[in-house]
């Protein structure tokens, strides 16, 4: 049995009804496979005791679950109103420059995916940039080269 299978069994036992393990299982499968590839969906479905189609139907609903390949690192810039008011668009554009990609794309070496994202719930500490799901607060365009450098150095 795969490691994912064992961990998903543990997740299923966390809930009174195993169906509730769907999102945590998909998250886990994504972490192990990089994204929810057909193989990842199959493995996740087998572990849950359902079909890949069900897993895919659920996964496609959620922004944090990816059915297409993404970079090793994820940079998400909140461009909702509160962040936009203090310059989120300029932060996003600076990331585009530094990374050499347009928003929504992954760098050619497969390292970093850049995308705008809806409100991250940090409006008072704008601009919020989520780097590998950890928030950087009060980000200004001039902070961007340092963040990219840290990512490139694997920090």
């Amino acid at each position: 049995m795969s490691e994912l299978y064992t961990e998903v069994q543990r997740l299923k036992e966390t809930y009174p009804d195993w169906h509730s393990a769907m999102l945590p299982a998909l998250r886990l499968a994504q972490e192990k496979h990089g994204y929810l590839s057909p193989e990842a969906l199959r493995e996740c479905a087998d572990a849950l005791g359902t079909t890949p189609a069900v897993c895919e139907a659920v996964a496609s609903f959620y922004d944090m679950l990816h059915l297409k390949p993404i970079g090793l690192h994820m940079v998400e810039v909140c461009t909702n109103v509160s962040c936009a008011l203090v310059g989120a668009q300029q932060v996003l554009e600076r990331f585009e420059q530094e990374l050499g990609v347009s928003a929504g794309e992954t760098t050619a070496d497969g390292e970093v995916t850049l995308r705008p994202i809806e409100c991250l719930g940090g409006c008072g500490w704008a601009t919020i940039v989520s780097v590998d799901h950890h928030y950087r607060t009060h980000v200004k365009p001039e902070d961007v080269p340092r963040i990219v450098q840290e990512l490139r150095n694997g920090e």
């Binding site: 998909l26 922004d63 909702n80 109103v81 509160s82 928003a103 929504g104 995308r115 809806e118 008072g124």
Partner: protein
Amino acid sequence: MANEVVFADAYERDLTKLAEYEAIGGYAALAKARTMGPQAVIDEVSASELRGRGGAFFPTGRKWAFIPKPDQNPNPHYLVVNADESEPGSFKDNEIMARVPHRFIEGCLITAHAVEAKWVFVYIRGEYTGPYEVLVAALEELKARDDILDGVTIVLHRGAGAYICGEETALLESLEGKRGQPRTKPPFPAVEGLYRSPTVVNNVETMATIPPIIDIGGAEYAKLGVPDSRGTRVVSISGHVKRPGNYEIENGTSVRSLIYDLGGGITEDRPLKAVIPGGSSTVILRYDEIDVGYDFNSLLALKTAMGSAGVVVLDDRCCMVQLGIRISEFYEHESCGKCTPCREGTRWMTQILRRLEAGEADQHELDLLLDVCDRINGKCLCPLGETAAIAVASYVDKFRGEFQQHVDEGACPFGESSPLHNVLAPVAMHTHSPVAVVPA
């Protein structure tokens, strides 16, 4: 802020630590509640006149009282906490979980006692890694404390990125491992919620307010605030203010005071243009409407609401059409697609607003925009589309001249000088060309 309740002692001490929290009397309210019996706890919360802090402002005690007694419904009862805070402008639950996790957990345990639930599910939005880790650590500290947990299981369930899962029935669908689409109501969750069992769904701040209420008593808590809006509220202030952040206020504090006292005034001392009072879903207030109490009745008189208490301040450079585009794009992206008026209507709103901004809209399209808004209102299962429509229609209503100017001049009078100019929203990356054709 002499009357802090939710954040009491949180700035002086590190209340993420169990020992620190117990040192200020933490978990004593839980012990007290357990000596009181479930109905007495519900009565105490009813006496406090606490109303839900998630946005709907429903009386908390009454919600709990809807839960059938075990002899009326044999199914187990569940407490589900809505920690899916995703409303643009709101970031209070984020800080509450991060700063006072034990007060929050204590509130959950008192509520579980009141509604006789043995399971608590905290549905926390997937992006909130920080607060999630704080809660994991707090629960780890409680692991060996049977005196506190008393057989109640608390499960942290992480969302995966969907604003709609903040709607309680969508949240329950998502928690059951499905796409987060709202259910038809009735039945309401109190009757058929999680796993078709009686379920109470409460917001994070509501939970963190429960221990102080049990501690000081409902009547004492109800001395704070104003009629129909008792107690305190954690308000998230953001946008063009000098000191953005979360502030715990007594309900009824004026909006002017939120902006100019707590928020420190407008950035660079520019003129105020408008305020979104309760998160992106609420009717906007003009600069001349801020001498109003931040409470249910005062804001209702202006046809708006505290919502999820996200106060977004906009200065005079902001274009209201651009604001409409960004808000409409948000709802277009987050619409779950179940109800046609919301799914199609939010997209239409965005397209018309984009034509207005580009100076390509005819006079009739301004009316068409309001017509589309009107055709969403009251015609969907949940409030998502409706709030988008109400918000955008309020920008037109309160800044009609500015919208008209876009038509008359065939261009945006603000253009690049507005900070909301050409902001890239997630939905705009893939789904539609910048300017669509609107039929005559």
